[in-house]
Symmetry: C2
Amino acid sequence: MLRNWYLSCVLAAMAAGSALAQTGTGFKLYNPAIATFPVVGGREWHTGLASFFDRLPQRISDSLRRPVWDLSHNSAGEYIDFTTDATTIDVSYKVTHKTILANLTTIAANGVDLYLQDVSGVWYWIQGAWAFSSDTIHFRYDHIQRPGAVKRFRLYLPLYSSPEWLNIGVPSVNSFSFVPVDIRQRPIVIYGTSILQGASASRPGLAWSNMLGRHLSLPIINLGFSGNGQLEVPVTGLIATIEASAYILDCLPNLYDAEKFSDTEVNRRITLAVAMLRRAHPATPIVLTEHADGLSSITLDSTYRAKYKRVNTILDSTFTALVRQGYKRLYLLTAKQIGFTDNSTIDGTHPGDIGMAAYAKAYEKLLKAILRH
Amino acid sequence: MLRNWYLSCVLAAMAAGSALAQTGTGFKLYNPAIATFPVVGGREWHTGLASFFDRLPQRISDSLRRPVWDLSHNSAGEYIDFTTDATTIDVSYKVTHKTILANLTTIAANGVDLYLQDVSGVWYWIQGAWAFSSDTIHFRYDHIQRPGAVKRFRLYLPLYSSPEWLNIGVPSVNSFSFVPVDIRQRPIVIYGTSILQGASASRPGLAWSNMLGRHLSLPIINLGFSGNGQLEVPVTGLIATIEASAYILDCLPNLYDAEKFSDTEVNRRITLAVAMLRRAHPATPIVLTEHADGLSSITLDSTYRAKYKRVNTILDSTFTALVRQGYKRLYLLTAKQIGFTDNSTIDGTHPGDIGMAAYAKAYEKLLKAILRH
């Protein structure tokens, strides 16, 4: 029975955790918060943070709407790279609040997810056994079989909760080193909504921005704010301070409500965001993305489809106008290119794993073409 | 913010529910339990049940291990077909216990899922707004846009919980009829595990047996028992009483533990199950399925892979022996044919939507070839 299976995993992992906590021997714990160099990938700011795993610097907090600031504590898109010769890894951490949502698994919202990259660049996923029942969450990875020489492990952090602290434990006989964030590589910076934050991938590694980062072997800065990716000036202004490979504005899913965001307002927000980024970065590609759910093929609910199509129509005309005004290196990713079907979403809005894979693939194709130039 | 969006859906649906409950006007409720003909599809037995939505008849309860009997109350694979000219449908129901699992969404475990089939046979998904917060769960479908003439609606029931009662509400001005279960069509009968019960599809309609039923336009009997699909004689004996198009035995994921199920025991259970079915049905196809997770490409956890591969090796040799003994119309579905990748599962065992789609597709291909003869 799944419940029993789960329970036995819980107990096994708990036992491992207890042994570790009680004896302090056998395993050695490595805490990214006391590393002497930046080790949290997937974000731009490593100092001046209100809390260690925050995605935005504290200095900007007063200029943000409260929900944006609150969501910036969620570790969506963040990961920790490390090397070790261990075949057992025990990750323990605490989140400020375990997020429970009907359309998201606990593993996606509050769990971590481990991958390994070999020296040739190929990524491999590693399954874990989890324990969510106590304040300290455990993910235990056992019997890891190396596919050959290993470049690094990558531990993705929770998509919808905020770690207070986190330790990576390996047997004390084994080596362990954090891999510093490569600040020479220009990231792809994405400003988006719940879909970017990761709803509703089944686990963190399958959120589309995390898949994209693996596929492109480029750092991705995930600025997805569930319900609150609204192309606001303070956020765009902050993004404009980042030296990026490309900027992606994927906020239409949070601008679909015509009562709050009129046609004029949606046009204004897109135009202003593009102008701000272009002023600071004359030649960096900017991608504008349609609402992926604006396709009739997804569901027969006509009202939401009409709302989603409205913002896509505004984006298309705004894009055309901007190109006519002389903007260069401006790109449009359409809902049709993303290509959702009726299997792609859990609720008509949030992609499950099928939608996430399609989303990542569409971006990969476009960005490979863009970055080749 | 997703939480707010969720809350507003909850409140909207709750409001709808309250209006309905308070006034009793506006909407008329249709209760499948008082229909004068069988209306719960996806199961074989419609009378002699301990509870209306049970998958197994009460008379067999004493012969089953308790967990199998308990899980038979879960409505996995069940659906209710109906016709209506309404564009709003409000489904309300109560489950005995809301199941919460880290690797399954609440929507998959406890939710319902609505599709529509047009007269040409094409299926369309319909998104709903949900409310899980009170004892009575609501799913509300609004603004349904018909793609043309409609053959039927299909409401899939929860995968991992047991409905006590359920009502389908439509505006009282609209028509409504339950569609009787077509008992002339021989179903495909599947005996399986948590994967068949639906873990970890994001919603009920994406469980592989439900996808397969839509793709083949055939009734499927889902006898998936999470952790307890163990090729046991009482269950196989019951299955042998069903006049089927094909039998599928997909139980290896619950026989992988060598301490409980030795090589000899796994061989014995497979051989006995096939013999029982073949004795009762000399010419009906029987499919034996490998553990889909027995592929190294899924994860680097070597221990579980070895366990999963062990049962596949036993199945393969048992299958070869049975064919040599003269068994006809016996088919093998291999893990390689199902084709999981490292994106296919949430935890190394349970397929997410990507794995579910691959699973359904592999069965569809095999069964179309088998049933053509």
